[in-house]
Symmetry: C2
Subunit: 172 residues, 2 copies
């Protein structure tokens, strides 16, 4: 969803000058400076990087972002239920249900029923699922490195610390 950027038209300024004068000067209106507004910046950076990663595997493996997240969690925690997957991916249960439907259909995840509770499913990556995981995970890591490469070591450390603090607390 990152809009493809174009070479930026310098002529923009003329338009701006031509129509700008009236309202935006009004002191009482204090418009937001979107480009320095934290939530907006987060959204842009997040979408840009997520999209870059997704581009790597989306077409190649016919794998959506939500599906990949489910796979990533199952790679770490074998045998989770759908609800637990939802918790760990911060996705809602409907999204997880749909992702699982596709993954199971594609033979990438196996789904069994829990022994003592027939409502629960017991999920695992299949061999095919692992094969994909082992290709996608390194690509994702590579993209992460590329993003971090824009920062020096000190900044990287701070970013890690800051994001940990900003991450919403778990919901148990």
């Amino acid at each position: 969803m990152p809009a493809k950027r174009q070479p930026a038209r310098p002529s923009d300024e003329r338009v701006l000058l031509k129509h700008a004068p009236p309202k935006q000067a009004s002191p009482e209106h204090a418009p937001l400076e979107l480009e320095h507004f934290l939530p907006y910046q987060l959204s842009i950076v997040s979408n840009t990087v997520s999209q870059a990663i997704a581009d790597d595997y989306q077409r190649r493996f016919d794998l959506g972002v939500t599906e990949w997240r489910v796979m990533a969690v199952l790679a770490r925690f074998d045998g989770l239920s759908a609800r637990e997957v939802a918790e760990r991916t911060a996705m809602d249960k409907v999204a997880v249900s749909r992702a699982l439907a596709r993954l199971v259909e594609a033979g990438r995840v196996s789904r069994a029923t829990h022994d003592g509770d027939k409502r629960r499913s017991v999920l695992s990556l299949s061999e095919a699922g692992w094969a994909i995981h082992d290709q996608v995970a390194p690509m994702a890591r590579q993209r992460e490195r590329e993003l971090l490469a824009k920062l020096d070591g000190e900044e990287q450390a701070w970013l890690e610390r800051i994001l940990d603090k900003l991450m919403p607390p778990e919901s148990p």
Copy 2:
């Protein structure tokens, strides 16, 4: 063979320990730790905060996130064309077109045709648009403050610096 689940106490590491041994131990698989994976964290934080802000005005003003972004940009740069709005909001032109359709329909944005180029539109917030802007902008700022309140002064400064570096290169 996934193991059996028990009372599923979320959050706990027992789940991990109990089911970890088999596949995920395999050195060749090296699963991603989603919760420490930068792109994932960014996505969570971004969505959480954006949603929190949106909740403030979504219902109250029947205003979507994309529409609000368009309004915020027009508040700062009066008379932009749709394409210019798209550039400044990092939204694609289809999204902008749709947002504008709703905003114009609702009388929040006025649309004229550019003097020398009949393809271009010339956009401005209407009085009603400004009225809404002047209510929403402070709420958005307040949410931003709440987010930043989770960080100490030093962290805030670093975050600002880091995001500026991570933001994709822009137009003007």
